[in-house]
Symmetry: C2
Subunit: 221 residues, 2 copies
Amino acid sequence: MHRHFEDELNNLKEQLLKMGSHVESSVGLAIKALLENKTSLLKEVHDLEQKINRDHMEVDEACVQLLARQSPLAADLRLVIAILKISTDLERMGDQAENIAFNAKEYLAGKPIKQLIDIPSMAEKVQVMVKEALDAFLRKDRELAKKILEKDDEVDALKDKVFHDLIERMAQAPDQIEQALNLILIARNLERIGDHATNIAEDVIFAVTGDDIRHGSNIEE
Amino acid sequence: MHRHFEDELNNLKEQLLKMGSHVESSVGLAIKALLENKTSLLKEVHDLEQKINRDHMEVDEACVQLLARQSPLAADLRLVIAILKISTDLERMGDQAENIAFNAKEYLAGKPIKQLIDIPSMAEKVQVMVKEALDAFLRKDRELAKKILEKDDEVDALKDKVFHDLIERMAQAPDQIEQALNLILIARNLERIGDHATNIAEDVIFAVTGDDIRHGSNIEE
């Protein structure tokens, strides 16, 4: 029975990591399409989003089954709850990647703005956060999870800068308003992906240590 | 033991509904502040967001405890899983209300745009969705939950219209760009709150019937 539980839990972790790799691809493709002007990649983002939605339902169902059959306790129960939550965040990231693809498509169809401001560096930071959040889960790495929380502040600061620069541009060149708005919405979605990576990091800490550091309740540790 | 479980479950439902009422107040106050030019209400939105964050942790912890102590099965297990998910959506709604409050504060500090376009009717629809999502949970009302899914399409259409109208305004009056952007971001947050209400409706259907209709897997029924 115990052996069986370990097997089921390992399968579940693998399912979640597979879902995570779909999300990484999806975010990466949406950004690549924007930065390298490759609209052909956007269809793949949509296909991945569909796949991620199926992953989400499968992971959830596997969690429910495992809870029902095995009634895990303590650390194992926390881990299954964390997986349920992480799969929700991953699914939302898939939605955000789809949103980025939508605005990238609109943007690439119009006249480009001279430079993409800080969006490339913002995108890079966010992608690292997503990768590290999944690594932290895989390795149960509390320290790495904590580092992700710090990176989120940097991403938020970049987003503020992008907003500021683009609002200025809109005022200077009213014919670029729609294009600038597309970029603002892309920056907003990148920021949200960073937020979800942060949620995952918090869930990893919760699963590993039993601490609930969300909402700053224990963040000073 | 069984009686004890029913008591715990009822407590948990009450906790969730209390959290829901905080979210309703929070969204309502953020909108009221914007529509009636009452910045004094915005502090309350922030206080409620803190309260909602605490509610979220308490509901999650109660779910974990209940799963650990009672190992519920079948319908009861599904209900607890649904409550875990609903509390996450409610917490995110609290964040969105806080975002609306932030942009409302910026907006109200500047020169108002002549009219708020379709934002008032969008806000009203979203508030009804939130209320109905909680009612559907309370009454285990599958039909009401399904109606919420339809309303979400109406909200999305209104958001597109708001975006369109405000982009036009930005082009006509570049000095109103920042103000129009505040309203665009408010519309976006309202749309997101509608999405979360939709998620809750889907979780209610999942808990009541065992169907997983998310991502359209069973939507044709």
